[in-house]
């Protein structure tokens, strides 16, 4: 028999709901309001205005930062998915008794500290870093390569390193419903390696791959730490500028407008990707387990 008090279970969600409304939704709204207020030094004042957004769009420097964010975020997301796909495939269908240990290594690297990874790449790519010293050691180069660090390339490599484990796990989970026997059937029906990928594997992982792509893109494009530590002057990105507005220059309204313009960009990308999935009907591909 059903207990009469139907409100019961919902009450349990109240603490979390109140907490998130107070410390997540309300602060975001306040942050959003800042972008429409008139900025004064280290504060905002009342007349509502769209000038902040106008400033953001009209400032030339921002165009370069936006391009950097777009390129770095796009490349990081693209390469994360590209490298993760064969890894997830191998884990699902070929790993055998190695699956446990490889999954362990991937999850363990996922938990490795974010700043430590950035630091590690500085040690790898620097003028005296492991790669330059290694190449010098085997005599490939005489002079250290200077183009490895303090640019967009270094930022992208570190971001791929940071997000790759996550993408592998997402795609691995996405492949779960696709039984190995399906691949065998496709093979028996005469589908070659390429055909099996194109017509069986890729349609199934399309939706998780797009969501992983979006996740990596958004987190990379808005990152303010990696570009600051590895990007040098040429690799600076939008997130850095937002951070500087709040921590350095004190131009809150301008920083807020920049952040929300960036968020609008993310939403547009999300809509485009969702539309692409729908148009190609890949959002509906499901395999019975």
């Amino acid at each position: 028999m059903r207990k009469p008090l139907s409100i019961g279970p919902l009450v349990l969600t109240a603490p979390a709901t109140v907490g998130l409304l107070l410390f997540f939704v309300a602060p975001l709204v306040a942050f959003g309001v800042y972008s429409f207020l008139t900025g004064t030094l280290y504060d905002v004042a009342s007349p509502l205005t769209l000038d902040n957004y106008k400033d953001v769009v009209e400032t030339d420097v921002n165009r370069r930062l936006a391009r950097n964010s777009l390129v770095v975020g796009g490349l990081a997301a693209f390469f994360s998915v590209l490298i993760a796909l064969p890894m997830a495939y191998w884990l699902r269908y070929s790993a055998g008794r190695w699956r446990g240990i490889v999954l362990f290594l991937i999850v363990a690297s996922f938990l490795a500290s974010y700043l430590v990874r950035i630091f590690a790449w500085r040690s790898m790519l620097g003028r005296n870093g492991a790669i330059n010293r290694g190449l010098e050691g085997i005599g490939v180069i005489d002079e250290p390569l200077d183009f490895l660090l303090y640019n967009r390339f270094a930022v992208t490599v570190a971001l791929v390193h940071i997000f790759l484990p996550y993408v592998v796990l997402v795609l691995y989970a996405g492949l779960a419903p696709l039984q190995p026997s399906y691949l065998e059937t496709a093979q028996d029906l005469g589908a070659g390696r390429l055909q099996r990928w194109r017509r069986v594997v890729l349609p199934l992982v399309a939706a998780p791959a797009v969501s992983a792509f979006l996740f990596v893109f958004v987190l990379s494009a808005a990152d303010y730490v990696t570009p600051q530590l590895l990007g040098g002057t040429s690799g600076i990105m939008l997130g850095v500028q937002v951070q500087v507005a709040f921590i350095g220059t004190g131009d809150f309204a301008y920083g807020a407008a920049m952040a929300f313009a960036m968020l609008a960009g993310f939403l547009v990308l999300y809509a485009l990707l969702a539309l692409a999935l729908r148009l190609t009907r890949l959002d509906r591909v499901r395999f019975a387990a």
């Binding site: 919902l10 410390f23 602060p27 490298i83 484990p165 958004v218 951070q243 807020a256």
Partner: protein
């Protein structure tokens, strides 16, 4: 079970991927034992001098203590709020289910930059001074969705018949939860709590905005990275790696042990048998 397919190409890719993931981290660990201040090859001999330096540095131990305090509080509060929310949401048929699920998931979709600045703005508006308390609040917002998603998935997998039968036999809500639901899901909750702790312990992006005068370990590493070459950063990083791995292994073992024990008992005993008298009957 089906056999494994041979796929040398993806196998080679996986090995390359693992090297890519681990080589930089192992390099950091190797040079944390370097006898000179150089962070790069050639390796000139082992020494633990950087570890001695780390362990005798009071700024670092204070930062580590702060990190532990924040991560422990975050994990404990998250377990409480997250379990309640996930249990409530999976057991209700209210129309608020959809909107609430969205709210509980939403913080994951926003980059830390947004959460950090939004909270900085909010805290300054209500004139709360920044401290470890504000850091913990920020971490709760950040960590909550991760815990919630795992807990909800575990609770949804349960057979509702077990809880209904217990309730029909006269067990009150709390008894049903404690004696039927919790024994089935606690291993997963422990794993998710470990994840919450690890996420909080390592959090930098949001923390940077809401920390005030205190310091945490990630914040210390950040300031070290901004300074010139500081070899003790290698030692801290390696300790941090070792700590996270240890935490992961312990959580993993605890979770699998719990799962195995639960399954084992499920096979030998009727899971419907409630040991001890049912309390809190209505």
């Amino acid at each position: 079970m089906t056999g494994t397919r041979r796929s040398p190409a993806t196998g080679a890719f996986t090995i390359a991927g693992l090297v890519f993931l681990w080589a930089p981290l192992l390099l950091v660990a190797l040079f944390s034992f370097h006898s000179t201040g150089s962070l790069t090859f050639p390796f000139e001999g082992f020494s633990t001098r950087w570890y001695d330096e780390v362990f005798s540095n009071e700024v670092i131990s204070t930062a580590a203590k702060n990190s532990l305090i924040v991560a422990t509080s975050t994990a404990l509060i998250t377990v409480l709020l997250g379990t309640l929310a996930a249990y409530g949401l999976t057991r209700t048929s209210s129309r608020l289910r959809g909107p609430l699920s969205l709210l509980f998931f939403l913080p994951i979709t926003l980059p830390g930059l947004f959460i950090g600045i939004a909270l900085l703005v909010a805290f300054s508006r209500v004139e709360w001074s920044l401290s470890l308390v504000t850091v913990t609040i920020a971490h709760l917002v950040y960590v909550f969705p991760f815990f919630f998603l795992v807990a909800r998935a575990a609770l949804e997998r349960l057979d509702p018949a077990l809880e209904e039968t217990a309730a029909d036999l006269g067990a009150g809500r709390w008894t049903v939860f404690r004696r039927v639901t919790l024994p089935q899901v606690w291993p997963v909750l422990v794993g998710a709590a470990g994840l919450a702790f690890a996420l909080s312990f390592d959090e930098f992006v949001i923390t940077f905005f809401v920390i005030g005068p205190d310091s945490t370990l990630p914040l210390y590493i950040w300031s070290g990275l901004r300074r010139t070459i500081d070899p003790s950063i290698n030692a801290i990083s390696t300790l941090l790696l070792a700590f996270t791995m240890l935490l992961f292994v312990v959580t993993f073992l605890l979770t699998t042990w719990g799962e195995r024990r639960r399954r084992g008992r499920g096979l030998t005993e009727d899971p419907l048998v409630l040991t001890g008298p049912a309390e809190g009957t209505t």
